[in-house]
Structure formats: C-alpha cells, structure tokens
C-alpha cells in the first residue's frame, strides 16, 4: 500500500494542503461573521429607516465583498486537492466524505452565490425586504457551507456511521444521520462558526476604533462598535462553551491529541490543567525527542480531569500510558493496537488474493470474517495502526499542539473582556476618550486571526499521524506522484496566494481610508 510513497512526498503534500487551508482560513471566518453582522445592520436599517444604518451596511458589505472573493479563490483549490494530492484517501472515504461536499454545493454554495448578486447589485432592483432576505440568505448560505465541510472534518477525527467493505477496499456509509449529528460534528460546527463571529466582531470594532482615533465618522464607528461588541460578546461566550464540549470530545475519541495539547506525559487521577507553560529544549524521555521538559509550568489541580470527564478525580491518560498501555485503567498499548491492525491488513490481503485466484469459497469466508461486527470492533478499528512502524510516530508534535491550544484559549478569555470594555465605553459615551483602548482594539484584530489559525493548527497537527483517526495514517492517504510535481505546485500556490493576499490587504486598507462616505468602485 505504501510502495512508491516516501516521507518527502507526504511532507510536501501536507505542506501544500496546510498552505491552502491556512490561507483559506484567513478569509473564511470573516465571511462567516461579517455576513451575519451586515445582515443585522441591514435589519436595523429596514426596521428604523435610518439612512445612517444603510451607510454602515454598505460600507461593511464592501469589505465583505473584497474578502469573499479571495475566500472563494482559495476554497476551490481545497476541494479539489482531496483528489489531486490525497487520491488514496479520496477513494477510501469518498463514499462518506463526498456526500457532505456535494450537499454543500447543492444546498449552500448556490444559495450563497445566487443571493450575493442581489445583495450587491439589487439595491435599486428589488424591494427593501427582498434585499434584506437576500443578505440574510447569503450569510446563512456561507454558514451552511461551513456545516458540511465541518461534518466531513469531524468524521475524519471520529469516524462513525460506516463499515469497511473488503470488496471495494473502502469505508462505506451505514447511517447518514450518525455522520451528520455526531457530537464531534455538532460541536465542531458550532465552535468554528461562532469563532468566525468573534473574529468578524473584533474586525468591525478594530476598524471602527481607527476611525475614532482619526476623529472621523464617529457616529458610524460608535454604531458599528455597539453591534460588533454585543454580537461578539454573545459569540465568544458561545465559542468558549462549545470549545469546552469539543475538548471533551477530543478527550474521549482522540486521547493522544488531548494529552499532547496539555503536555501530559504521564496520566493521573485528578489531573491538573497547565494554565501556562514554557517547553524547554531538554528531552523528558530519551526514547522520544518529541517529549520535552517544561521550563515553567503553572498548573491548576484537578481541572483537566473535570474538563475531560466532568469528574474531578477521573483518570486522564498521558502520552506514555497511550504508548505503553495502562492495564489498571484499561488503556491498550500501542504495540497491541499495531498487532491488531496488522491482523486486519493481513486478512484483507488474504481476501484480495483469494478473489484474484478465484477461490470463491475462501474469499466469501474471509469477507464474512472481516465484516463481522466483532472483528470490525476489535481488529478493523485499529486498521491504520498496522502501517505504523515506530510507536513514537503516534505522538503528534507536543510543542505545536501545546502552544496552539494555549494561545487559542488565552486569547479567547481575553476577548471576553475586550468585548465587555468595548460595549461599556461605547454605551457610556466614553469610547472616544479611551485612546489606549482604541489602539488595543486595532491590535486585537491580528490576535483574533492568530487565535483562529491556532485552533486549526491544533485540530490538524494534533491528530497526526492520522488522516482518519486510527484507520488511515496520513502516509497511506497521499497520491503517488513525484515530489518535484508537488514542490512546483506548492510554490506556485504560495506565490499566487501571497500576491492575492497583498492585493486584498492593499484594497481593504484603501477602502477603509476612503471610509463609509465615499465608497470605492469604478469611476
């Protein structure tokens, strides 16, 4: 299965996907949140009839349009990269993964692309209420598209509602609803979209703060801040709540990722949460370079156990428990999982050979054995482990997982206070006097992007070496192609996306400078 696939090919393919995904994720959260914010602003315009709200709506809509275009550009590459660079994966899971992608296109993208035209060009062509409906449907369409792709991603983190079919050598769906409503999918969707709302709210507040510092468009800026702060505050509370549920999912279904992002090497009952920590260069375990000591570590007792299992004294397995096993707490050793995976692979190979040589009876018997629920549960669920040569590769980068998790969480907590202060100062009419806060508001914009990217780094790096948890290692998913070809496309995309990003930032900044009074466009 892994013939002709080398580490360089996997690394470059991963780098290309990461590059595309991270660029795409610069634009998507703003689209998700700003779409809703613009719809709220337009609703206020339609309800009050106040032309100031129309001006506000149209200004933010202009920025939405600039951001939307480049999000679309990066998004199309992502969809097709599943096929171009991960073709083995595409076949292995296409029966399940393809459905959400197709539904995304039919139900969400068309809604978005149909109504966005009315949103931008329909002001003088359709009624006020139809226009408002179009704006809401554009925002809903954008968020709906996020639903389907996140359902697919959640399935990769926790595969459910499927069975392996040896005949076709792939996973096949057995329950659409299980895939759609898996807790991992629900929490992931809610957490990701609400984090987009937070980012967009910070974007609106930060830019509005710039206007106040410059002493221009004050009414516009104050109104924008109020909408952004109220929406952002609700969104951040919800983001934290859903993040907590997501963390519990990870503890249950991806314990290695959970242990890595907490830097928990040895499990314990009543495990403490590392609130702050700094990883040193010294290795904590001579057999695994990845496990480093902590230089500084501030730990809050028992919180991790509660966070993971809602029990202050629950046992949380550490990385060593997951590698070496822990009989007392029923944790299977990685070596045991590997041997079970190998049995599953051997059985599949035997089935394929029997089929090829025309031994129908033997093939049927092997197939029955593979499809047996007990075999699927006890052996096939470890199928991917059969390809693991070194148990240490089962541990994701601890430093990357640890820092990305903690950056995301700490910034999330900061955002609560940020929104509260923004709201308080604006409602009290003091915002224009709080120069320091206004400057902080501008600098909070990149922090929102940092938190947002950190979340995805944690999700994707944290689940390595798996592309599908326990079933398919990333190495087995890649398209067999020359490393040089992937290097060429990697640099091609790096140049194209960076050029387009520079263009977008320059346009966006000019539009902000022009401001809400005289909007840009062809003259």
């Amino acid at each position: 299965m892994l013939d002709g696939i080398n580490v360089a090919l996997v690394d470059w393919s991963r780098a290309q996907f990461a590059l595309t995904a991270m660029y795409h994720w610069i634009f998507v959260p703003l689209t998700l949140g700003l779409g809703i914010l613009v719809a709220i602003m337009e609703t206020l315009y339609v309800k009050t009839g106040n032309p100031e709200w129309k001006k506000i709506t149209r200004f933010w809509m202009t920025l939405f349009g600039i951001n939307f275009a480049i999000g679309v550009a990066t998004g199309i590459i992502l969809e097709f990269e599943f096929g171009t660079n991960w073709s083995n994966y595409s076949w292995f899971v296409g029966d399940i993964f393809g459905a959400p992608l197709a539904i995304e296109g039919i139900l969400a993208f068309f809604m978005e692309s149909t109504f966005i035209a009315i949103m931008f060009f329909g002001w003088n062509k359709v009624s006020k209420s139809f226009h408002l409906t179009a704006t809401w449907l554009t925002a809903i369409g954008a968020n709906l598209s996020a639903l389907w792709i996140l359902v697919a991603n959640a399935w990769m983190q926790k595969p459910v509602g499927m069975v392996f079919n040896p005949e076709t050598a792939r996973m096949e769906m057995t329950s659409f609803w299980e895939v759609l409503f898996s807790p991992m999918a629900v929490h992931k969707f809610l957490h990701t979209t609400s984090s987009g709302f937070v980012l967009a709210s910070i974007f609106v507040i930060g830019i509005s703060a710039w206007y106040i510092i410059k002493g221009r468009d004050i009414v516009f800026a104050r109104k924008s801040i109020i909408v952004g702060a109220v929406f952002g505050f609700i969104a951040i509370i919800y983001t934290i709540f859903t993040g907590d549920s997501s963390a519990r999912d990870v503890a249950h279904y991806q314990p290695m990722k959970f242990a890595a992002f907490e830097g928990l090497y040895n499990g314990s009952e009543g495990a403490g949460l590392v609130a702050l920590g700094l990883i040193s260069r010294n290795t904590a375990d001579p057999t695994n370079e990845n496990l480093k000591d902590f230089t500084v570590r501030i730990e809050i007792p028992n919180i991790l156990s509660y966070m993971a299992f809602l029990n202050w004294n629950a046992f949380v397995p550490g990385i060593n428990d997951l590698i070496k096993g822990n009989e007392k707490f029923g944790v299977l050793a990685a070596a045991d999982k590997i041997s079970r995976g190998k049995i599953a692979i051997e059985k599949l190979k035997a089935f394929k050979e029997a089929k090829k040589s025309g031994q129908i009876v033997r093939a049927d018997s092997l197939k029955t054995g593979i499809m047996n629920p007990e075999f699927q549960k006890n052996y096939f669920s470890y199928f991917g482990y059969g390809y693991i040569a070194d148990v240490n590769t089962l541990v994701p980068s601890v430093a990357l997982a640890f820092y990305s998790f903690h950056i995301m969480v700490l910034l999330g907590l900061y955002f609560i206070f940020f929104f509260l202060f923004a709201l308080y100062y604006t409602l009290k009419g003091k915002i224009h006097k709080k120069r320091k806060f206004l400057r902080i508001a501008i600098w909070t914009i990149p922090l929102a992007y940092l938190a947002s990217q950190a979340g995805w780094v944690l999700t994707e790096v944290g689940r390595q070496p798996w592309v599908i948890q326990d079933l398919m290692p990333t190495m087995a998913a890649v398209t067999k192609i020359s490393v040089g070809a992937v290097q060429v496309t990697f640099w091609l995309f790096a140049i194209i996306f960076t050029t387009l990003l520079i263009a977008e930032l320059k346009i966006m900044m000019r539009q902000i400078k022009i401001g809400p009074k005289s909007e840009g466009g062809a003259k």
């Binding site: 969809e79 073709s87 992608l101 197709a102």
Partner: protein, 376 residues
C-alpha cells in the same frame, strides 16, 4: 422512495445528475467565453466596464456549478474523483488555477490600490476564459479516448506518463472538443452580451463576431461528432465487468438510446437556431435557444459516454482498470441518501431562476453603472 430502485438505476440516476451539472456548467461558461472578448468587442473603457460588469454578476454561478459538479462527482463516483484528479494532476491544476485568478479579478479589477493594476486582472480573466473551456473540453475528451492510468487491488492510481494528463492534448480528437467548447463559450458570451447590455455598438459588434466564431465552432464540433461515431469505443460486459474495445461503440449507443439521440439532435438544432436566428433577425433571445441547446447536447454526449455498458473513463494504459458507472460508484446506501438530497435541486433551480429574472429584467447600461455603488 429511492430505496426501491436497483443499484444500477441509482448509478444511472446519479450519472444523469452529474452529467446535467456538467451540461449546465458548459452553458454557464458563457462567462469564460465573454472574458476572451473584452479586448475584441470593447472600444472604450465604458464599453469594457459594461462587458465586465454584466459577466461579473454571473461568474459565481459558473464557479459554483463547477464546485458542485466536483462535489457531486466525488459523492457519487468517488473512484473517478480519486483516479482522474490524482492522476491527471497537471491538467486539473491548470484548470483550477485559471479559476482561482478569475475569482478575485472581477472584485479587484477597478478597486483603488489593487496592487497589480486593472490590466493584469483583465489578463487573468482572459486566461481563465481561454484555458478553462479548452482544458475542460480536452479533459472530457478523455471520456471517449481514454487516459493513461492503472489501478491496483486497493484502487490506488498509477499514471502511465510523467505528463500527468497533459498528454491528452496530443490526441487531436480531445483537442477538437476543447476547441469546440472554447468557440461555443465565445458564441454564448456574445449572445449574452446581446441579451443583457443596453448598448447599440456592443450589440452590432457582438453580432458580427458571432459569425466569426460560429465557423470554427462548427468545424471542430462536427469533426468531433463524426470522428466519435466512427471510432472504436470502450464497452464492458454485463455481469463480469470485463472491458472490451468495440467498433463503432458510440454509434451503437446512439442507435440503442433513441430518446438520448433525439435529445442530442434537439440540442444541436437549438444551438444552431439560436445562432442563425440572431444573425438573421438580430434579436436578443438567441442565448436561450443556444444555451438550452448546449445543455441538451452536452447532457446527451455525457450519457452517450457512460450508458449502454460503456466505460465513461477508459484506460488506454491498462484496459481493465477502466471506470464504469458500476465499478466507480458510491455504495447503494450513499446513493440512496444522496438521492433524497437531489430532490432539492428543482427548488434550487427555482430560486436561481427567480433571482436571475429579478436582476436581469432590465438591461445593464452605462447610466446604471454611473449610479451603482458596487461596480467591477
């Protein structure tokens, strides 16, 4: 409802849907065709703005249809997705990059401080307009002429040449389809300009260029169709799935599926009627006949490629690796689930039609652009 259908019926149903999406995509490539005509049709900056803006309000439909086509193919025939995209690496990336640069070009073109300048974005649109139709058409040509791949037991693809799909342009029959699609998209673009822009000079110039593009379109299209009917095709034996080369396979398919043949002929008549009536009468409605005809023709051609026990993605590198709707499809369960989702398609088409009408009930004019807030 769908549970009662046999697996082969579900596979055929999904091929019909994917093919319809493909056919709609070819029609919507009037946007790409139009993008190659900015420098030909427009004489002034205002005229160019009219051309750009009328297409700029529709480009997302084309784009979304392409994305949905990809998603639907992935969902219903994942082996094609894995094989073709993973195998013909360079072709698909060339197509995708041309769409990436398109996606930002309308929005960024006239915005102040756009970094690359309006001309660069116009060239991006031209590249998309040229490469998109030619490469998509050439790639579809491999449905009839085959591609260079093999699949192992685990369905992992190996490509037979280092050119990873680019070798398809060396088969003239593929390229002829690519060029036919290019000239058809330009014809559709011209007809759309005549339909949607309120400008006499643009109308007259578009009408003149309609004739210039119709001639090469007919040459390449007729060559493609005639050669198709006389060439060998790739059939599979029901039951065993063994792939065999069959003489006059596509001609046999045409004769074996009379409804499809009628659809094909009606489509061709529609395309020609839209062009001829516009050339003779000069009305703005040619786009609907040629557009409708395009959908019917392409749909019928794609059905011809896959029905009646035909391999829709043959391998000339390893014949038995060829893909058919039976060996490349999703499981029965997934096809049934997806079929329920497909019930939303008429609803989606309904609101697209409604929104299109609302936006196009008045032709775009330079006066409108002067008053418009959001201009490309």
């Amino acid at each position: 409802m769908f549970e009662t259908l046999s697996l082969i019926s579900l596979q055929q149903y999904w091929w019909l849907i994917v093919s319809l999406l493909g056919a709609l995509f070819v029609f919507l490539m009037f946007v790409q065709g139009g993008e190659t005509l900015f420098f030909t049709i427009a004489r002034t900056e205002t005229e160019k703005s009219l051309l750009v803006n009328t297409l700029g309000r529709k480009w997302e439909f084309t784009f979304t249809t392409l994305v949905t086509f990809g998603g639907a193919f992935f969902a219903s025939f994942p082996l094609f997705y894995a094989t073709s995209f993973g195998g013909a690496y360079w072709v698909w990336f060339a197509i995708l990059i041309s769409f990436v640069i398109q996606a930002v070009s309308y929005e960024f073109r006239k915005k102040p401080a756009n970094f690359l300048g309006a001309k660069t974005f116009e060239i991006f649109l031209f590249i998309n307009g040229l490469l998109g139709p030619v490469l998509v058409g050439t790639a579809v040509g491999t449905f009839f002429n085959g591609a260079m791949f093999s699949l192992d037991d685990m369905k992992h693809v190996t490509w037979g040449t280092p050119f990873r799909g680019l070798e398809a342009v060396l088969t003239f029959h593929n390229l002829a389809l690519g060029l036919a699609v290019l000239f058809l998209s330009r014809i559709l673009g011209l007809l759309y300009f005549m339909n949607s822009i309120d400008n006499e000079a643009i109308f007259e110039r578009s009408k003149k260029h309609l004739l210039y593009n119709t001639v090469p379109f007919l040459v390449f299209f007729l060559y493609f169709v005639i050669a198709l009917l006389f060439k060998d095709g790739f059939a599979y034996k029901p039951g065993t799935g063994e792939i065999v080369v069959e003489s006059y396979k596509y001609l046999h398919n045409l004769l074996a599926m009379p409804i499809n043949t009628i659809m094909f002929l009606a489509g061709v008549v529609g395309v020609l009627w839209g062009i001829i009536s516009t050339l003779l009468k000069g009305g703005p409605k040619g786009i609907w006949f040629t557009g409708g005809g395009t959908v019917l023709t392409v749909w019928a051609l794609l059905i011809l490629a896959a029905f009646n026990h035909t391999s829709f993605y043959p391998s000339v590198f390893d014949l038995q690796s060829s893909l058919t709707i039976e060996n490349a499809s999703s499981s029965r369960f997934t096809l049934v689930s997806m079929s329920y989702v497909s019930l939303f398609v008429p609803f989606v088409l309904g609101y697209i039609w409604y929104a299109w009408k609302a936006m196009n009930n008045k032709k775009i004019s330079s006066e409108e652009l002067e008053q418009e807030h959001h201009v490309y």
